[in-house]
């Protein structure tokens, strides 16, 4: 996909997940919008002939695929919208998000085709990704594992257990994206518990760190992924600076939109603007 096509796809995915969460009356608008471009780059981006992530919607258990662990599971509506768009499952399922009897739960559900990780509580995803990466190493396979973490999540001690293990086992098949949107459910990350310096911390645990100064710029994200693929004997952390609520003018950077879904009127207003990018 070209950069222009990626931008259009991101607008479409934003619309879709805002619609889902608004209907459900449950969602994390700020968090979904900040991670949307990272996930779109992973699923649709390519480096010329090489796809960023290998997968086959017709064969969700394909042996040659790469794996994505969305550790910031509260943003899962974005992932579901992408998987439906890629035809992992019927798009009509999206309207049942967060409803009784629906497989599309509000945290990642491994029963959904294309989802491998059961993400309920924060801080678990990187450890899970370490296990998948180790299993691939044991099989002498070169498939990759991508983990996507929030910044507030870095407050969880288990993230650093996983960072230590990944460095110790030299998991160069593991790439972790940090969606550094500076906001968590109850306010600013720095006000709750400061997580900086992110780069020094990961480097101290034996990781290579690549900084993306604009986590909504596809050229920068793809360039970081390309550099990550050539990492030698080290796991890679791609630290992305993002904006909470990105793409919705009235919600950008606003803490109040971090952990709520949009009302009907807000959805209409956000939709009008996003449709201009389609």
């Amino acid at each position: 996909m070209t950069i222009e096509e990626l931008k259009k796809k991101a607008a479409k995915i934003r619309l879709e997940c805002l619609d889902m969460t608004s209907k459900a009356g449950y969602g994390y608008t700020g968090s979904m919008m900040s991670v949307a471009d990272i996930l779109v780059a992973l699923y649709y981006g390519d480096l010329g002939r090489q796809k960023i992530m290998n997968f086959d919607p017709r064969k969700p258990q394909w042996d040659g695929q790469d794996y994505l662990v969305l550790s910031k599971g509260h943003s899962v509506a974005v992932l579901y919208a992408i998987l439906a768009d890629l035809e992992f499952f019927d798009r009509r399922e999206l309207s049942f998000f967060g409803q009784v009897g629906s497989v599309l739960t509000t945290r990642p559900n491994p029963k959904v085709p294309g989802v491998f990780f059961s993400g309920v509580s924060h801080g678990n995803g990187l450890s899970f990704a370490v296990g998948t990466a180790l299993a691939l190493k044991a099989d002498r396979k070169t498939n990759k594992v991508f983990a996507v973490l929030g910044d507030g999540e870095l407050q969880e001690g288990q993230v650093w257990e996983a960072a230590m293990a990944a460095g110790n086992f030299r998991l160069n098949n593991l790439i972790a994206f940090i969606d550094n949107n500076k906001v968590q459910a109850d306010g600013l990350v720095s006000a709750a518990m400061d997580v900086y310096p992110i780069q020094d911390k990961f480097e101290a645990f034996g990781w290579n760190v690549i900084q993306v100064t604009d986590g909504h710029n596809f050229e920068q994200i793809l360039d970081a992924a390309e550099r990550a693929f050539t990492s030698n004997r080290r796991p890679v952390c791609i630290w992305c600076h993002t904006v909470c609520g990105k793409g919705i003018e009235f919600a950008e950077g606003k803490i109040s939109y971090q952990s709520v879904s949009l009302s009907e009127n807000e959805l209409l207003a956000a939709g009008e603007k996003l449709k201009e990018n389609l």
């Binding site: 059961s118 296990g131 180790l134």
Partner: protein, 304 residues
């Protein structure tokens, strides 16, 4: 002949790792620090040591199942079931991943390590999670069969291993059953599992020498419990004692839950175990003696 359950784990894992190419071990330490297990020497490419990091250990084992792996997680019983309880619930049992949790140093094994290291809530913590099965082997051969059985069976499980050697109770022909009917008695029966089962057997043998027949049942599988057999035992005897090195929520609680809905005449159910209290830091045998969890204590309680 005496044997310990860690040797059973090592012996079983050598066979299991050889037979099942997808089996892996995620370790949070091995109980015998100066005597490394054979599986660590022969299968080092499938054995990963995570050091002292139980939460990450369990979550990583869950992550390996995505590739069809069969992970065995080995760690201290009290730390795995306590510190990593959330990971066991959310990342193993909610998605029903095929992860086997093996806890060593159960009950009062840690002895002088004190209350923080005693594992007397682990059965309760594991038993209340849906999809989880709980195994409490009592000797070497029973442990071997438990490991074989959980390897063939799909789904999460917890195996509780105690420290120290005990006299072999079963032999190599032993086949794993929900309940081993070791002795049928007249009016009194004992139900037990794990470390204290051998003490119960000594007590029952003592009674036999006095001409008294006491029922004795071993429960290597504490969850799921065979409800039919429990109802039969509760209906048959006047008094039933559950003997376990565990606090609230163990086998006694599980049997009580069945008894609570039972109609008609039934036995009086009593517990010989650990009350709601923290034990002091002392040798295991001394603690057993003080709290009536050895042969003498059991005989005294059941009126032998």
């Amino acid at each position: 002949m005496k044997n310990d359950l860690y040797k059973a784990f090592d012996d079983a894992m050598i066979r299991i790792l050889k037979k099942h190419g997808n089996a892996m071990i995620f370790m949070g330490g091995f109980p015998k620090a100066f005597e490394p297990a054979n599986f660590m020497r022969f299968f080092h490419d499938r054995v990963f040591n995570f050091g002292l990091a139980e939460a990450g250990l369990v979550a990583s084992a869950a992550g390996s199942t995505v590739r069809g792996k069969l992970p065995f997680v080995l760690g201290g019983a009290s730390f795995l079931t306590g510190k990593a309880w959330e990971q066991i619930k959310d990342m193993v049992c909610v998605p029903n991943f095929n992860v086997k949790i093996i806890g060593f140093g159960s009950g009062l094994s840690a002895g002088q390590g004190g209350a923080g290291m005693h594992s007397t809530s682990d059965i309760s913590l594991m038993r209340n999670i849906p999809n989880m099965k709980v195994f409490c082997p009592a000797d070497y051969y029973q442990a071997i069969r438990v490991f074989d059985s959980i390897t063939e069976d799909f789904g999460p499980c917890y195996v509780r291993l105690f420290d120290g050697e005990v006299e072999n109770i079963f032999d190599e022909k032993y086949g794993l059953k929900a309940v081993d009917r070791v002795r049928e008695g007249d009016e009194v029966a004992i139900l037990s599992h794990g470390r204290l089962f051998s003490e119960c057997l000594l007590a029952v043998e003592e009674l036999e020498r006095e001409g008294k027949k006491c029922g004795l049942y071993n429960f290597p599988i504490v969850k799921p419990l065979d409800k039919k057999i429990i109802l039969e035992i509760l209906g048959k005897y006047k008094k039933v004692f559950v003997v376990e090195d565990h606090g609230v929520g163990g086998l006694y609680s599980a049997v009580s839950e069945i008894l609570a809905g039972m109609e008609g005449a039934h036995a009086v159910l009593k517990k010989i175990g650990i009350d709601e209290k923290f034990m002091e830091s002392a040798r295991e045998e001394e603690l057993y003696k003080k709290y009536g969890l050895d042969k003498e204590g059991i005989l005294k309680e059941i009126g032998g």
